[in-house]
């Protein structure tokens, strides 16, 4: 092993996080370059109607001879932008309201909790359908409505967790050490909420992507291309009955893959922020004699040759002071 070999950041050394990040990166790249590398305009009609994948049309064509590959490429940007922006709005709101309502004593905290309960029962999807069908359907309206309606669940989770954290001994200990309140919130409480915040963010992104695709699928915001629009046309033209699998399978797989990537990232974050779930070093090690040993918790392999001393793994200071 060369000493100055490139090393991944600790977070990405986790296999799940690395796989999730790779998938996400894949979609982010296509969100940026998709419209440039698309071979056709997604609206450009042609003479080859509902034909399967070929070298000219990688994912086939639809009922107007439009190229489905180009539609997916162009649609990626809409999916990613709406998903992440709405997820970011919802996460920031849930952090502010959740932690404040958990940490503030008395009336202030209670009223913020009531507010999140009210937003919890607001049905986001019907609300979206109403707003987007009356308004000129626009990406920003979708982002704002999803972002402003989907923070409440995470806010409640964060309030509950903050309530349980604020009376913990280590928070009291930080106060007894003389730390200021803002420092306690940001450096003592917030790191313990990282898993919740990250998983809340990723969960909201998944929810947002699905909501946006659902809206397009039911035919409400089909003016801009996204994966839902492709599925909308496939469904309305009976793609399944025509055996035109290329029409809906790539879009469905893209949705599933993005969801998987985000979920893997979520698991990775969870293991990263909770030191207890972190594995310490490689599980398989090579011994001096070249044998491979699998390390397990509560089991110290004794692999030295006979007569060779196996050094103790750790020294307990209690033994000396007794």
């Amino acid at each position: 092993m060369r000493p100055n070999r490139f090393r991944l950041p600790r977070f990405l050394r986790n296999h799940k996080a690395a796989a999730g990040a790779l998938i996400l990166l894949f979609f982010l790249v296509f969100a940026v370059i998709g419209p440039w590398i698309a071979p056709y305009s997604p609206d450009q009609t042609g003479t080859a109607i509902v034909v399967g994948p070929s070298s000219a049309h990688w994912f086939g064509t639809d009922q107007l001879g439009r190229d489905i590959y180009s539609q997916l490429l162009v649609g990626t940007r809409g999916v990613v932008v709406v998903g992440f922006l709405a997820g970011a709005i919802a996460t920031v709101l849930s952090m502010l309201i959740g932690i404040a309502s958990g940490y503030l004593p008395g009336r202030g905290g209670e009223s913020l909790s009531v507010l999140s309960n009210v937003f919890l029962v607001l049905p986001a999807l019907p609300l979206l359908i109403i707003i987007t069908s009356t308004q000129q359907s626009n990406g920003w309206v979708v982002i704002l409505v999803i972002g402003l309606t989907s923070w409440a669940w995470n806010a409640r989770l964060m309030r509950a967790q903050t309530l349980s954290l604020r009376r913990r001994d280590y928070i009291e200990a930080a106060r007894a050490t003389g730390e200021s309140t803002s420092r306690i919130i940001v450096f003592e409480i917030l790191p313990n909420l990282t898993a919740l915040i990250a998983s809340g963010f990723i969960g909201t992104v998944v929810f947002t992507v699905l909501t946006e695709i659902t809206l397009a699928f039911v035919g409400i915001s089909v003016s801009e291309w996204n994966w839902g629009t492709v599925l909308y046309w496939a469904q309305s033209q009976d793609a399944l009955a025509q055996n035109a699998w290329w029409w809906f399978v790539p879009a469905g797989l893209a949705i599933a893959l993005l969801g998987t990537g985000l979920a893997l990232l979520n698991f990775g974050i969870d293991e990263f922020v909770n030191p207890r779930l972190r594995s310490s070093g490689p599980a398989r090690i090579k011994t001096a004699t070249g044998r491979r040993v699998r390390m397990r918790i509560g089991f110290t392999p004794v692999t030295g040759a006979p007569g060779e001393l196996v050094p103790a793994l750790a020294q307990d200071p209690e033994g000396e002071t007794l």
Binding site: R168, D169, Y170, I171, E172, A173, A174, R175, A176, T177, G178, E179, S180, T181, F187, E188, P191, N192, T194, V273, P275, R276, D316, P317, E318, E320, T321, L322
Partner: protein, 357 residues
């Protein structure tokens, strides 16, 4: 003795009282009195430099609340706290930080008192930095950290600095917690049952460490415990609490060997002793007189504490006066007539006080 005591007194509490309000029920909303838990009532104590004062009592007697009140983690309902003779009125902010520099608290549960997301290095450097003992450069900080860990005998320091709390044993964690308290270079250490969550085999090690630190750093230590035997081992002075009130106090040896208050006697007799096998609880020999076997009973409700002496419903020597008047502190005469500093809040000693005066 009293002259020396006055000179070395660091932290004094007088009439310390804490009542926790209970959530109001329907009747109280309609105009009754709001109910409170009388966690601590009129506790008076003094901590001296270089001396260990033990506060002994059973669960729920309010001894941990006293520590939290002294650390200003909770606001007292009444009474006063004096640091170096100056009244302390702190609600937070810079004043609290200045107070924390002199008075530090060690928590009972080392598994809960260290933030699981921070390494030992972070926890200790914050404690050093908050009180300005971190030095100017990284090397100075490292030196301060090494000194701190060496002081609690976690050596070599480098082995522990990068560790997270979950990688340490209970005893090691408690040592880190003690190191965090020492980082402020305090004068007073409030140790809230520092060994009760530890394995029996390592308790003595931590207690000896605290004693050595007290001697090296000339600290005043408040040692809170439910184990009166460890108070005798560790403390110079022992105070006994029952149901939120102090009932007895004096030199540890006297209080544990010649307990004056009936509650202290019960407490000492309730400790398992192989030599008393089969004699039952609550039986004590006083003036050659064997009392009947007493039921230990239960501590009273702190919402509606008994009137007068709080121990009277359980006391084998209960008198009429006990249920009506709260006993003040009475000096307990030494059996040999020598001067004594032992006192008990019990009417049993009222007459002797009067005759002595």
């Amino acid at each position: 003795m009293d002259v020396i005591a006055a000179e070395t007194a660091v932290l004094e509490a007088e009439g310390l009282t804490k009542h926790f309000p209970l959530p109001a029920s329907g009747r109280e909303l309609l105009g009754g009195h709001a109910r409170v838990v009388h966690a601590v009532d009129e506790v008076t104590l003094t901590l001296h430099r270089g001396r260990v004062t033990a506060l002994v009592g059973e669960s729920g007697s309010g001894k941990s609340t006293v520590a939290r009140l002294l650390a200003h983690l909770q606001h007292r309902t009444d009474g006063s706290v004096r640091l170096h003779g100056q009244e302390v009125k702190v609600r937070g902010g810079r004043k609290l930080r200045a107070y924390c520099r002199s008075v530090q608290l060690i928590f009972q549960d080392p598994f809960a008192s260290l933030n699981p997301v921070h390494t030992v290095r972070y926890t200790l450097s914050r404690a050093l930095r908050v009180h300005g003992h971190a030095g100017r450069s990284r090397a100075e900080l490292d030196q301060a950290l090494t000194d701190l860990l060496g002081r609690v005998r976690l050596t070599p320091a480098e082995q522990y600095l990068a560790k997270f709390p979950h990688e340490l044993s209970g005893g090691q964690r408690q040592r880190v917690a003690i190191a965090r308290a020492l980082a402020a270079q305090p004068e007073v250490l409030l140790a809230d049952e520092p060994v009760s969550m530890l394995d029996v085999s390592i308790r003595l090690g931590v207690l000896n460490l605290l004693r050595d630190l007290k001697e090296q750093l000339h600290l005043a230590v408040l040692y809170i415990t439910h184990d009166i035997a460890s108070a005798r081992y560790f403390a110079d002075e022992t105070l006994v609490m029952y149901a939120g009130r102090m009932v007895e106090g004096g030199p540890s040896e006297t209080v544990t060997q010649h307990p004056a208050h009936p509650y202290t006697r019960l407490l000492i007799n309730s400790a398992p002793d192989p030599e008393r096998l089969g004699t039952g609880f609550g039986e004590y020999d006083e003036d050659g007189e064997l009392t009947e076997e007493e039921d230990l009973g239960e501590p009273p409700s702190l919402v509606t504490p008994p009137t007068g002496c709080r121990f009277h419903p359980r006391c084998p020597h209960v008198m009429e006066r006990c249920s009506t008047e709260t006993p003040p502190r009475f000096e307990v005469p030494d059996p040999d007539g020598a001067p004594t500093t032992q006192w008990a809040a019990c009417w049993l000693y009222a007459n002797e006080e009067a005759s002595a005066a």
